[in-house]
């Protein structure tokens, strides 16, 4: 198309030309994006699965296999392995097929954004045995220390999460207390300087545990059915 500066501006192109060009570009871009999406989909799902696996085996260290379950008022159902994102909890089994614990997600609002955690729960000891952060955009160096600080992690060696005798609620609410003020086994000692994020972890655990654990105990029989056949831990 000639665009000489000297001559008068050329007649405006017909609408068809405009629509045609835009349409052509749109189609081409649509094709490119759709192709990329198809090419990368498997890999992305794989990445997500691996990330989840790693998190589950981190909070359930003795487990070598895991299974996903969906839990609601009606019961506990085993899920197929690729049902990522729909699972309410993951059960970990060791080599002999015995249940070692359950990994459950929880989330709560932190300083910057939502903090998502995955915690391990032991049915026999009725306590939370481990916690790992799945997602957080907390302050680097301050809030994000909940992920790495060993003293904070020590809170979760056996965090009391007992249910009352009717198994309808937690005996004591899980709560985060100021650094150095922890007196009971259901309290979380906050990281000084990162109280909001530490409190968020506490809220996430409390909310998730109070909601899921009663239901879990009601239907726990489903966890022991069949031996798990899924992939082994990394």
């Amino acid at each position: 198309m000639s665009r000489n500066p000297g001559t008068a501006s050329p007649a405006p192109p017909r609408s068809m030309a405009l629509i045609g060009t835009l349409g052509g570009i749109a189609i081409m871009s649509g094709l490119l994006v759709a192709t990329t999406f198809q090419l990368t989909r498997e890999r992305i799902l794989q990445n997500r699965r691996e990330a989840l696996e790693r998190a589950v085996f981190e909070v359930l260290p003795e487990a070598t296999n895991r299974r996903s379950f969906f839990l609601n008022e009606e019961g506990l159902q085993a899920l197929a392995d690729d049902a990522l994102g729909q699972a309410s909890l993951y059960a970990g089994y060791d080599d002999s097929g015995a249940l070692t614990g359950v990994a459950i997600e929880g989330s709560a609002r932190g300083y910057q954004d939502v903090v998502k955690v995955l915690y391990g729960y032991s049915l026999e000891r009725e306590c939370i045995t481990g916690m790992t952060v799945l997602q957080s955009s907390e302050t680097p160096g301050l809030g994000d220390r909940v992920e790495t600080d060993p003293a904070f992690q020590a809170n979760f060696e056996c965090l009391d999460a007992r249910l009352n005798s009717e198994s309808t609620a937690l005996v004591q609410e899980i709560v985060t207390v100021k650094h150095g003020k922890k007196t009971d086994s259901w309290q979380i000692d906050a990281i000084s300087g990162a109280t909001v994020t530490s409190a968020a972890v506490g809220h996430a655990l409390q909310q998730s545990a109070s909601e899921i654990l009663p239901l879990l105990h009601r239907y726990e029989a489903a966890l022991y059915e069949n031996t798990a056949e899924e992939r082994t831990s990394p």
Partner: protein, 226 residues
């Protein structure tokens, strides 16, 4: 610009270096600041963002240049934006496939590359008027300049704000990091500092050059004095 903007520029070294120093997109043209400040809290994020932006710059520059005779004036901005958005989506999926960690760290700012003024600006000002090879080289220069700027910010912010560089701890566990620098205000301050530094250097250079010019003029005048 007096020279006919439609005359294709000859491919020269300056087509490449223009984007690195003289017309650095961040430090000189003050474009693309949103990602520059948001993801430069660690050096590796800064590097990844710089590379992703460079990739989009290159692909869109080449495509726009290839299509420059076909796209009518009236719809050119819309077309450029669609092209850029396509490549940004591709980069988005590519990063998810490569590393979920990196993707989580960069977050929504990958998709925000599409409104990075640098890319649209380059497409409009250069790629649409020049030959594919020129467009490629210029885009590469701009990308390198942008990555350089990102690294300037990222390295300083990470070293001061976390005591690490690319994740490697520099000062040992007892170092008290200056946390503000990995937070939003720190981004503003560090960029302001770099701009200030460059302004000081530029001023010194001007003073020096003015001094030299003054000396050469007085030297010329001396013979006239009796």
């Amino acid at each position: 610009m007096m020279k006919d903007p439609r005359a294709p520029e000859a491919l020269s070294w300056s087509v490449f270096t223009q984007g690195i120093w003289r017309d650095n997109p961040v430090f000189v043209m003050l474009l693309g600041l949103c990602p520059a400040l948001a993801v430069s809290n660690t050096a590796s994020n800064a590097l990844a963002m710089g590379l992703a932006t460079t990739f989009v710059l290159l692909c869109s520059g080449v495509l726009v240049s290839l299509l420059r005779t076909v796209i009518p004036q009236q719809v050119r901005i819309a077309s450029y934006i669609i092209v850029i958005a396509t490549f940004v989506t591709i980069v988005d999926y590519a990063i998810q496939a490569i590393s979920l960690e990196l993707y989580k760290a960069l977050g929504a700012f990958i998709q925000l590359i599409v409104v990075n003024c640098i890319i649209l600006g380059r497409a409009e000002a250069y790629a649409s008027k020049n030959h594919v090879l020129n467009a490629f080289v210029n885009a590469l220069g701009m990308g390198v300049g942008f990555t350089f700027a990102m690294l300037c910010l990222g390295v300083v912010r990470e070293v001061l704000g976390s005591g690490t560089l690319f994740g490697v701890s520099l000062f040992g566990p007892d170092f008290q990091p200056w946390a503000v620098f990995v937070l939003p205000p720190g981004g503003f301050f560090i960029l302001a500092f770099w701009l200030f530094l460059f302004a000081v250097l530029k001023k010194r250079k001007q003073v020096r050059m003015a001094g030299r010019q003054a000396t050469s003029e007085t030297e010329k005048e001396v013979p006239r004095a009796t």
